[in-house]
Symmetry: C2
Subunit: 629 residues, 2 copies
Amino acid sequence: MRRICARVGPFQVCPSALQAPCSTLFRRTLPVAPFLSRRDLQFQLYEVLDTASLPSRERFAEHSREVYDDVLNLAYNVAEKYFANHTREADLHEPHVVDGKVQLVPGVQAAVDAFRDAGFFSAHHDEELGGLQLPWVVLQAVQAHFQAANIGSSGYPFLTIGNANLQREFASAEQQARYMQPLVEGRWFGTMALSEPHAGSGLADITTSATPREDGRYNISGSKMWISGGEHELSENIVHLVLARIKGAPAGVKGISLFIVPRYRVNDDGSVGESNHVVLAGLNHKMGYRGTTNTLLNFGEGGETIGELLGEPGRGLSYMFRMMNEARIGVGMGAVMLGYAGYLASLEYARERRQGRHASNKDPESGMVPIIDHADVKRLLLRQKVFVEGGLALGLYASSLVDEIQTGPEDQKADHELLLDLLTPIVKSWPSKYSQEALSDAIQVMGGAGYTRDYPVEMYYRDNRLNPIHEGTEGIQGNDLLGRKLTQAGGRGLQVLMEKMQADIQAAEALEGVGEIRTALHTAIQQSGAALTTILGQAPQLGPDLFLANANSALEMLGHTVVGWMWLRQASAAARALPNARGDDADFYRGKLQAARFFAIYELPKVRAHAELLASADPTTHDMQGAWF
Amino acid sequence: MRRICARVGPFQVCPSALQAPCSTLFRRTLPVAPFLSRRDLQFQLYEVLDTASLPSRERFAEHSREVYDDVLNLAYNVAEKYFANHTREADLHEPHVVDGKVQLVPGVQAAVDAFRDAGFFSAHHDEELGGLQLPWVVLQAVQAHFQAANIGSSGYPFLTIGNANLQREFASAEQQARYMQPLVEGRWFGTMALSEPHAGSGLADITTSATPREDGRYNISGSKMWISGGEHELSENIVHLVLARIKGAPAGVKGISLFIVPRYRVNDDGSVGESNHVVLAGLNHKMGYRGTTNTLLNFGEGGETIGELLGEPGRGLSYMFRMMNEARIGVGMGAVMLGYAGYLASLEYARERRQGRHASNKDPESGMVPIIDHADVKRLLLRQKVFVEGGLALGLYASSLVDEIQTGPEDQKADHELLLDLLTPIVKSWPSKYSQEALSDAIQVMGGAGYTRDYPVEMYYRDNRLNPIHEGTEGIQGNDLLGRKLTQAGGRGLQVLMEKMQADIQAAEALEGVGEIRTALHTAIQQSGAALTTILGQAPQLGPDLFLANANSALEMLGHTVVGWMWLRQASAAARALPNARGDDADFYRGKLQAARFFAIYELPKVRAHAELLASADPTTHDMQGAWF
């Protein structure tokens, strides 16, 4: 019985932890796989987006491209050394409870410590908070490294950052000093506590209660479900942002307020005090994403749980959306990076693994070819490439809009806000869905090997399946897009989107090699625009239920169209650079152009069926009866 | 800390085996879920297919519908009691090796014993072998129960049955008595050993050698990879069917022969003797399908491995295809049943779980509705319904062709053989792909709950992801369809398919409620037919590599068209029955009609894009260069 454990992909993994032998006889030991393409990230930031020009703005005046590159290098090194090193280990040993304390694999503590020591908890904050005032798009690029290297361990700092950002915007100065500053310093961690056992997608029905105390604070009582990072020993304290109803508040969304609820009460000097009676009632056992604890928490069990009202009563959900919108872009980017890591793993395998011959070669004595030479394997790799690189372009574009809103021209601010609002459900859901397709293709490229724990792709596939669910399911995102974002401000968001897409089509007119994507995008825009005009025009007659019955097709149709736009932008940048490029660079640009062609020919034609369905206001799903299933 | 373990879905599962608490606070404890719809199986066998008429044929003269129903009832009871009881347990405790022996959870032995005691190893065989001469379509319906209840444990008997069927056709009488009869009796188990570490999809390159011995047998030497059921202690012996090259044989497929290689040598009296030196070199650690051991076996390690040549030298692969074609239909049916079990689990959840309100209801004081009332949830359930019920119709239709070939009119035998050949790559790959989509939808319906081990759908999702890989990947199936099956016998197979589809379109002309599926199928046939005419006509100019570059689109296009046909057949049966149906029966038929409508409107329009791509002979994947990735 052989017992060989090898360095596989980015991981030092020893399946013998499972008390079973592993064999690597069937393949060569691969070198450490890159978890992220630094070349593509540079391309997206500096060739597709104009990130290098941001230092001309006052807020970023201390910066330069070199500063950004140094930050990205640091992110790469920390991610590689402290995050990628325990990804599989955390998957194999999911969080569990011993003597009432959550146990994680040791690498997680080292990872979040390294993240803190590198200054990433505060990098985007104002200088007065100890930050670097890093642009949002660079922060997303930084975070992409940790998502790619270890999605589970990245959850703790990212939830903490999102929590602090919400407090920064809406909490009082005293609350910020007390509850936000420790998060900015990475000493305490944060969560968002929205769902309850009986209320997941339907937050309007939460019942957790807040009873006023004489000291102006509130006693919080109830259960919160699906709370990521809800309990662990990684930080001195955990600050929960909790949605609850103040006694006597009206039913529905208007009665929901937001509370700051620490795991341990905070003494007047800011030190950590006694238990606040937030009790871990259970851990959820997930298919993937196992590195992040996911908890059921009981508030007010065995004693009083004291919380502070954040902002005004009744506005809790609108504050929460500050964090949720950020989290939705984060989910989309996490999906992109999981898909990207899988793509790189399967690409490496396809270059190494030899199997079969071209159909035109009937000589069995000839050597086997690397499978990357087979057209159908190239199809599977091109699909992955267009999904993950298109998703990355989209996520970074959306992030760049945050910078435009914060530091760009004042007269475009409102338009950029509407555009970001419109894109958010797409940025969240499109990569969640299409990275899953990419990861399925990564498994398929690797065949049986991809289905085993000897390679990381099966893990990424399990990890990413969460992304179409959390922070608003696909159904929620479809309703948000069609029912809210496409109609708000008289449809101005869609108009801005259309104008920007048309402008890029115009700008690409004289470029070589972008014809297919340019034409296909133009067609997709026509089809999408016509379908939206029809369905939005019919909305009053249809009524809300029938109007929204095919909201998913709106999401699919606009999602593919927008990513088609991202491919036109990438292809245009590549076409401009190719004439002066040599060697690997020229290959890189040719790959971008061929991928754009692939998206134009294999993917964008799918827009038509969705557009026709949407425009038809087809009642099939609406009319289906539960008893008929 | 609560520690609640509950009966979940069809499983008595206690995650506390993982030393972690589980909580069911967030949902009601559900009753045992059905793993299979007996109503739909009856519909498929007796209303869509004409299974009840088979007893009019000589081979089945002893049968009646009551006999078939009794057999199906027995299958249901054995599957429920002995297979469904340890599905999750086998998933949580995958096979591992202790003191050189493979350890399985105890339920597997009880399951295969019950399967044997019920007579299912031999039910389809001739009476002289102790069989019931059960028709193939009924055998598939029987097996469907075990696939739905426990795909992992069903692997051992099904591989054994396939192995015995191959021997029945090609092995000598002596070999049958020695090596097949114990399989038919379920005393020994069987495998198929094709792949090697360096040769998975490319079997032409296998190197396992067979050296002639003086006694007329062969010494087998080499390694075989991905061998399901390759080692266990469930049966007295294991009979491997091994592809190998006789010393001096030519390279490629023509040099491959097939050998019978038992795990333990067989004494002259048929009893089990000493070790045949087939050594377990490792177990593969899979994402799912964990109940079936998957092994790397070394032949001729530590001693001689003796095998017997089966049939003629050099014809090994053609014999193996007897078993492989059967296995491909089995894989497709396994995929269907996993998808079906997931559909039923998510359907039950959707009826129970309450969340949110209709978009038209703005009253937050009103009660939450069962999520099955939301149009997007109905969309997700309808998608599952059309994929799994369409797949079931297809799998049973293909199985009925086996009966037609064996016992049907002689003058149609050749046509039915060509049609079955043509459909086999679709029967294998379409459900493998679309059950995975269905299972993703099942998870989506259940939200976070579906992503946890508290419900079985995440397990089915992991299990089924193997199906697009084993017994020939999707890429292999696409090439088989476009490069072989569509052209053999002058394209007669396609012609037979088209005639049968057109006949059903004609027959449905006067039926009520089938208009959408009838029209949409007609369109899909037109588009598919035109695309195939174009690409097949261009084949000589294109050359094999470019001709096959978009073989996947042929598979998708014809797959959806054929399943559209299956939905027309189901809708027609429902339309005929509905006028006289009452209560649950009427609901059942209305569901079939609405699902057919859904497939027509939401799925069949996807044929067009694939047809256009295929006809264009687009060279994008063919032209892509490895260096450009």
